[in-house]
């Protein structure tokens, strides 16, 4: 019997992110992995510990990644930072109590920690530390601060703006070994975890208790909760559960000087002073390292439905959104859109018929063309009563089909169809990367003009004769748009055959200027990291930038925390 490799659960990091084409459902779900978990505190995520001596990568087809310092030769290493010495390495070994696997110096093993998920950036770190306790993190940071050694905190290394890997020889501090669930209260729904717990693991743990993690994104099989908080990840369910700024109740953070700031016991309501944890949520490792997260989790919906629709225009997308909010209202939990180009790319990777394809047969390479609808919409509903939700969804769909807002669509009939439909949306990020690389722009724009950015970029790339799907001599394969339209968030992916300075010059600062002109955000949810460090000015005012820099200088006077990034 052939088996479906559930995209989000597998035994090692590399295959976690590869959404392999699936053929058949196995009859055990991801939650069967939970049957091997014995106690609360011994939850070991199956994907957090990366196979460190694996040199075969399966994300993009590019063989070797250029060093960031070579790609950006004008960047200079900060002379105030010390260089790593043997004495330093000895000291770290002492701190980690003689745990040899917690100190990594082998250059092959370090490859994983030095390269980002998109294989666009590569650092030159000579040391990765994997502490097991908050106390160890504190001692490491204190040592680094005293000796002016730069540090890059790293979680699942799935960030999309090059924020989780070194630029030069910064020490990588990986949270992978701090991966226990600390506690869960099934009355209040408060979950307390180590920062290195993989998102999907946390969610599966909660599923057993009838709760759900208020965050979901494509990288769930590899990303860490701590990293999610450090980047204020948005994801697929922001529409329903709000942002981490609202759902995180408390944090355990280690400051650059080693001080441990602990608010893990914070309760739902507490108005006693400045809300300090908000500083760290979204700080991308520049103010301190998050080692523990306390988060409020909602009850798990009992009934989930996915409707996957084909519409004729971007206006129809907006119209569908309006009607969905109106008729589905409290059960609406996700509203995503994708243009046809993104589905074409996805088809190249997924190698199965498109959900809305009726008669199209795949070609000799297994690739089938999606139907001709210019746009697709994915709607998710979640609720506590299946019959109620089914009736609401059915009535909504009948209405939008009848009045012509929607041209065609399908509804998931079972769990495996549900996951397949999501894959056609979640797999686009990976599919954009499959030809050699991708330039990603994650932006917020006013809804009416959201898709115009994609059109403008396509026109500009054509004007410079850089884009062609079939002609392999052109660097750009296609420019596609998709995203959390319900949140006003567009993901513009320019899929390329290789990273290319010409393409980058044509795209930037064009994209950022366009966004500024339309009063959007240059980074809706992916953060600033390395990629967008110099572009904050397009969205934030000088006054705001000064306040941010003041805070950074105050908490990290030596600037050792994730340098060369953010702001």
């Amino acid at each position: 019997m052939s088996s479906l490799r559930l995209a989000t659960s597998s035994a090692n990091r590399a295959t976690c992110r590869v959404l392999k084409s699936s053929v058949r459902p196995t009859f055990l779900s991801a939650s069967t992995l939970l049957s091997t978990f014995q106690t609360l505190s011994s939850i070991k995520p199956t994907s957090a510990s990366a196979p460190i001596s694996r040199s075969v990568r399966s994300y993009s087809t590019a063989n070797d990644v250029k060093l960031t310092s070579e790609s950006y030769p004008n960047l200079e290493r900060n002379k105030d930072f010390a260089k790593l010495s043997d004495a330093d390495i000895e000291a770290f070994k002492q701190i980690l109590g003689g745990n040899a696997s917690g100190v990594i110096t082998n250059s092959d093993d370090l490859l994983f920690f030095n390269e980002d998920w998109m294989r666009k950036y590569k650092g030159q770190s000579q040391l990765c530390l994997k502490p097991k306790t908050t106390e160890q993190v504190s001692q490491i940071l204190k040592y680094c601060n005293d000796h002016k050694l730069a540090v890059v905190p790293q979680g699942g290394n799935t960030g999309l703006v090059g924020g989780s890997i070194p630029v030069f020889d910064e020490i990588v501090l990986s949270l992978s070994n701090m991966n226990s669930v600390r506690s869960f209260d099934n009355v209040s729904g408060i979950l307390k975890v180590d920062a290195g717990v993989v998102l999907e693991t946390a969610d599966m743990y909660l599923a057993e208790q009838g709760f759900i993690f208020p965050l979901d994104l494509g990288a769930k099989g590899s990303c860490h909760v701590g990293g999610n908080v450090a980047t204020n990840a948005g994801g697929l369910r922001l529409l329903r559960f709000g942002s981490l700024h609202g759902s995180v109740l408390g944090l355990e953070v280690v400051l650059p000087d080693g001080t441990i700031v602990n608010s893990m016991d914070a309760l739902r309501k507490d108005n006693t002073g400045y809300d300090l944890k908000q500083l760290f949520i979204g700080s991308e490792g520049t103010l301190g390292i998050i080692t523990g997260v306390s988060i409020l989790c909602p009850a798990r919906p009992k009934a989930v439905n996915i409707a996957f629709l084909g519409v004729e225009s971007y206006e129809a997308v907006q119209e569908t959104f309006k009607k969905a909010k109106n008729e589905l209202s409290e059960i609406l939990s996700a509203f995503e859109f994708m243009d046809r180009s993104s589905q074409v790319l996805a088809a190249h990777m997924i190698k199965q018929s498109h959900p809305l394809a009726q008669d199209e047969e795949p070609d000799s390479t297994g690739v089938s063309q999606p139907p001709e609808y210019p746009f697709y919409v994915l709607i998710e509903t979640s609720g506590s009563n299946k019959d109620h939700d089914d009736a609401k969804l059915e009535s909504f769909l009948e209405n939008v089909m009848e009045d012509g807002t929607v041209s065609d669509g399908t509804v998931s009939q079972d769990e495996s169809q549900l996951r397949t439909l999501w894959r056609w949306r979640e797999g686009i990020a990976e599919a954009s990367n499959q030809f050699g690389g991708v330039y990603k722009y994650d932006v917020s724009l006013p809804l009416p003009v959201l898709y115009e950015l994609v059109e403008a970029v396509k026109v500009r790339l054509a004007e410079h004769d850089l884009i062609s799907f079939d002609d392999a001599s052109k660097p750009v394969v296609d420019a596609v748009g998709y995203g959390h339209v319900g949140d006003g968030n567009l993901h513009l992916n320019v899929s390329v055959r290789g990273y290319n300075k010409d393409v980058e010059k044509v795209l930037e600062p064009f994209v950022y200027e366009w966004i500024q002109e339309h009063k959007g955000s240059i980074s809706a949810e992916h953060g600033l990291g390395f990629q967008k460090k110099n572009y904050v000015g397009y969205t934030k005012s000088d006054v705001e930038i000064k306040l941010i820099k003041d805070l950074k200088k105050h908490y990290d006077p030596n600037g050792i925390m994730n340098p060369y990034k953010y702001i």
């Binding site: 459902p25 009859f27 011994s42 809305l356 009726q358 929607v406 079972d414």
Partner: protein, 256 residues
């Protein structure tokens, strides 16, 4: 026998294949309250195959009739079959009873007679009991040929059917005249998503409700379930630091 093919497709409503089943507190069965149900994946493939056969042989196929034996909610599964292309459907309402394969076969035997079906396509087994008996029992009751675990089906102009079956040694191809029972295996086809217009049209297609008594079949169980329990949990493995430790552990376990 008529010169046209009348296809009968039995479909079963089972706990969603992708969900982990739980045992109820009495340890007599699987928990079904608040659990998601859907069409048995093998039956889904059977419906898809029936539609494909009709598409490839429009002049030969007369009708496709879907039937389900289960509770009232099994209507949902029949609606899916109708949306995919079945013309008519029947529900044999047995309430919450767990009907055994032999009783199912007897009911299907009666329905075959009623609809004069000469080709029955069904899943090779249901994912809840994994019996893999109904198709074969039905063939015995009807005295028909059977082609089980089909991975490819071709219907010829002269109404013979060639079926490829995956067996231990490789692929076996058999050829049969009608009437015939085919049970489907995973690789036979890939069921498509049902689109909204078809779902809406399916609401108007006929769905008759019957009782087992109407067909004169006794569905009382001949088997009694004594106990159902989960398989023993897998114990966590033990990591060792070096080869010496490994040898020591193996000695402790008396493995060497």
């Amino acid at each position: 026998m008529s010169s046209k093919i009348k296809i009968l497709v039995p479909v079963k409503r089972v706990i969603d294949a992708a969900l982990k089943p739980r045992i109820n507190k009495a340890q007599t069965g699987v928990e079904s309250k608040g659990v998601k149900f859907s069409i048995n994946p093998f039956d889904d493939i059977a419906v898809e195959e029936a539609i494909k056969i009709r598409k490839a042989n429009k002049k030969l196929v007369d009708s496709i009739h879907a039937v389900s034996i289960g509770p009232t909610k099994a209507q949902d599964v029949l609606r899916i079959a109708l949306a995919k292309g079945a013309d008519t459907s029947s529900l044999v309402n047995v309430g919450e009873a767990n009907v055994e394969p032999l009783a199912v076969s007897k009911i299907l035997q009666k329905l075959q007679a009623k609809h004069e079906s000469n080709l029955i396509i069904m899943g090779k087994q249901a994912i809840d009991d994994d019996s893999n008996q109904t198709g074969q029992l039905l063939a015995g009751l009807l005295g028909w040929s059977q082609a089980t675990n089909a991975s490819k089906v071709t219907v010829n102009e002269d109404l013979t059917v060639e079926v490829e079956r995956e067996i231990d040694g490789g692929v076996e191809t058999i050829k049969s005249k009608l009437p015939l029972i085919i049970t489907t295996d995973l690789r036979l086809n890939e069921p498509k998503f049902v689109t909204l217009p078809k779902m809406m049209k399916a609401k108007k297609k006929p769905l008759e409700v019957l009782k087992a008594d109407d067909l004169g079949v006794d569905i009382e169980n001949r088997l009694e379930v004594l106990k159902i329990e989960e398989p023993p949990a897998r114990k966590a493995g033990v990591k060792v630091e070096n080869v010496d430790q490994l040898v020591q552990k193996l000695k402790e376990l008396k493995a060497i």
